[in-house]
């Protein structure tokens, strides 16, 4: 091993679940490699975890169950928060930053919902709050947006940023299975939580998208303005019809900046099969970014898992070690990419976006039905791009329509009129279509 040119970085880990323990292990496994790259050794000097397993922390000088004791330990330079949840994670991070310690967190919910206060605290104390592992697991997408693409005005990004949801949609499509059936399998495989709401309703993706939109555009973090729609209403039939029209259905987080108007939305989305993004399957994540200089670049890989997420946590540690070794006296990079969030941007409500739409309408198989439906669309000023009508299998048939670009508010009006037609049964399944740059 080469000689070390810097003082070891002393790290404390709060929370020894999947990611925390993965981080502890990775720092051991790859210690030599990390030292070769940084010239520094990284020492885990303190671990705090709810239920202490002595075997897991055998190599760590100090351990206990109190994260605040870890924060107060003068031996700890850098606090890694891998507890998850809002409290005590928030207070632990805030206290650590106030004590002038750098913090690394994998906690996307906390950053998306309470990041503004935490980043302000970090700035006030001249330390860094890092969070590469909070978005898309092991894929270094935060670094790409904040540094690699920093020369660009970013106009849009679109990401498959929840592996569970992507696994479910992939499996529904590949084997024509129902949502509930695949969800149960995902839970059995450990991909989905017992309460799958965060994954399948898009909340987890919305947390990640909120963070990425902030870095991409300089948008202030505001989770409440992120539109969120889940995948539980998608059926295998939708996937088949979309396929016939040349599309795949993916659960996307989409952020767009048009002038000073931003769109930040998570929903099931039809994307053209000619897109590479359409071929990202299973639990993998991928983010497609459009910049005014670089054009389209895409980043893909495992969005979860102990080792992949630990890879991102340790990359943040290495960044800190390298910065420290450079003699810097302040963090080199604004944590959300921009020195100040842009106060001139607004986020459009979902009714104000424009999109093409896929509609699946269950109708009685009677003469003149199509005329009635198209007339409702026409009244709302919406043109039709493609239609599929399948042979009758029972009393009712599915009509599938792909519209031209329309204002969502206009489409809502048209859907209300269509649903009120006596030949139409139940709710229309409406899925937005994304026209991605490539």
């Amino acid at each position: 091993m080469i000689s070390n040119s810097c003082i070891p970085l002393k790290v404390g880990i709060c929370g020894l679940g999947t990611v925390g323990f993965g981080t502890l292990q990775l720092l051991k496994t790859n210690a030599e490699e990390i030292s070769r790259r940084t010239g520094c050794e990284i020492h885990v000097v303190h671990v705090a975890t709810r239920t202490l397993d002595q075997k897991k922390v055998a190599s760590v000088p100090a351990s206990g169950t109190d994260p605040f004791a870890l924060v107060n330990d003068p031996d700890v330079d850098v606090v890694i928060e891998t507890m998850g949840g809002f409290e005590p994670a928030f207070s632990v991070i805030k206290k650590a930053l106030e004590k002038g310690k750098h913090v690394i967190t994998a906690n996307k919910a906390l950053i998306a919902e309470h990041g503004n206060e935490l980043f302000a605290t970090a700035r006030a104390n001249n330390v860094t709050l890092s969070f590469e592992s909070a978005v898309a697991g092991g894929i270094p997408i935060i670094k790409a947006l904040r540094e690699g693409l920093a020369a660009n005005k970013i106009s849009s990004l679109a990401g498959i940023i929840n592996g569970t949801g992507n696994f479910i949609l992939t499996e529904m499509g590949a084997n024509k299975r129902q949502f509930d059936d695949v969800l149960a399998e995902a839970q059995a495989l450990g991909y989905a939580e017992a309460d799958p709401k965060f994954d399948v309703e898009g909340i987890d993706a919305a947390h990640k998208l909120t963070i990425m939109a902030s870095i991409a555009f300089g948008l202030p973090l505001d989770f409440n303005k992120t539109y969120t729609e889940g995948i539980s209403k998608i059926t295998p039939e939708d996937i088949i019809y979309a396929d016939e029209l040349g599309y795949k259905i993916k659960h996307l987080g989409i952020a767009v900046l048009n002038g000073t108007q931003a769109e930040v939305r998570v929903h099931p989305t039809l994307i053209s099969k000619s897109q590479l993004l359409a071929h990202v399957n299973g639990v993998d994540n991928a983010v497609l970014v459009e910049g005014n200089a670089v054009g389209s670049t895409m980043y893909t890989g495992p969005g979860a898992g102990a080792d992949a997420t630990a890879s991102a946590v340790v990359a943040d540690i290495i960044d800190l070690a390298r910065t420290k070794a450079s003699g810097a006296d302040r963090p080199p990079i604004a944590m959300l990419g921009y020195l100040e969030p842009r106060s001139d941007l607004t986020v459009l409500p979902i009714e104000d976006i424009r999109s093409e739409y896929y509609l699946r309408i269950l109708v009685d198989d009677k003469l003149g039905v199509m005329a009635k439906i198209t007339s409702c669309l026409q009244d709302a000023g919406i043109s039709i791009e493609a239609v599929i009508q399948k042979e009758r299998v029972s009393q009712t048939v599915s009509i599938v329509i792909l519209t031209d670009t329309a204002l969502e508010a206009d489409l809502n009006k048209a859907l209300t009129s269509i649903e009120s037609l006596d030949v139409v049964s139940g709710k229309i399944n409406r899925i937005r279509v994304a026209s991605l740059a490539k």
Copy 2:
């Protein structure tokens, strides 16, 4: 615009071709965005270019035709070398580093073939030689390897790293066209140079692979040890047969580290259609990286073009501006990722690699031919995984064989015996098969 917290960074650009002029333009176009992200203004204070066009440099305080005058200009903090070629580029960079100026270059040939001396000079003078734009254009792959994945032992990478070659293979496959025909089109479209050797013979890709292998494994830069084979012998038939076997043919740069033995090789390669990398088409680049913690991640986007390449050059400038603003007194990151190259690694000669192979053999359509061929393979200890024999179209037929994993030296012996059979016409077309992690 927000107030600037740092002194403007003063940049000189040597060479005002595609990339150099693209950089000058991008710094103007996105000045506001860059300032929002760095707190710094970037001023181009000097341009040196072979043929001075006053219109192009109207906004630049100093300009001329002598790059050494630019290097000696005390007003220039950072020298951007976008002249290309070995001289005077090498001397310009060396002189600039010796004068304590940071240098940014897009010159992959120079880095791959003379990087060791230049990086040593940079280290001796406590400055940075940056080269993000030298590999895969606008894709921030150097940053991903050096920083984003720094927590990993990287075991392999595989990249489509020459857009011209990928365009040619994509077009040959999509429209069953011959190599020469598509090459002529690529030249007409401006994708390929008048002398296409660098692209289609794999030299350009080998330069980029040499650099990436160095960062991924800590391998000393040694371009001469990179095995290089072009795509000019690939036929539309090969692409069709590969497709039938479940593969695409791509011109890949592959680097593998097994213990202390490295493979660094550029050649046409069969990759499974289930790989996302197989679906990267046209002039796009993509790099798949396998790390022991993160697993497989892939990075894709435009590998060339004025704006995309300038995006990477300006990202390097922004890194320097941010580092400067942090108060660092030495470069934070080792330029090739490792503080010291690893002296314990060796690069395997191509004869010593193990691979599966695709073989296309032109034979007389006679009884017993297949038995003779398989017996040659068997004598060399090589098993067969799949065979395609097509109906006869003339006196001769093509037999396509997919072998199991074999040592290249053994395969070479078998090919020599097969080619000496009197029923076999001409040379066998042999293409390596890559078993990528995902």
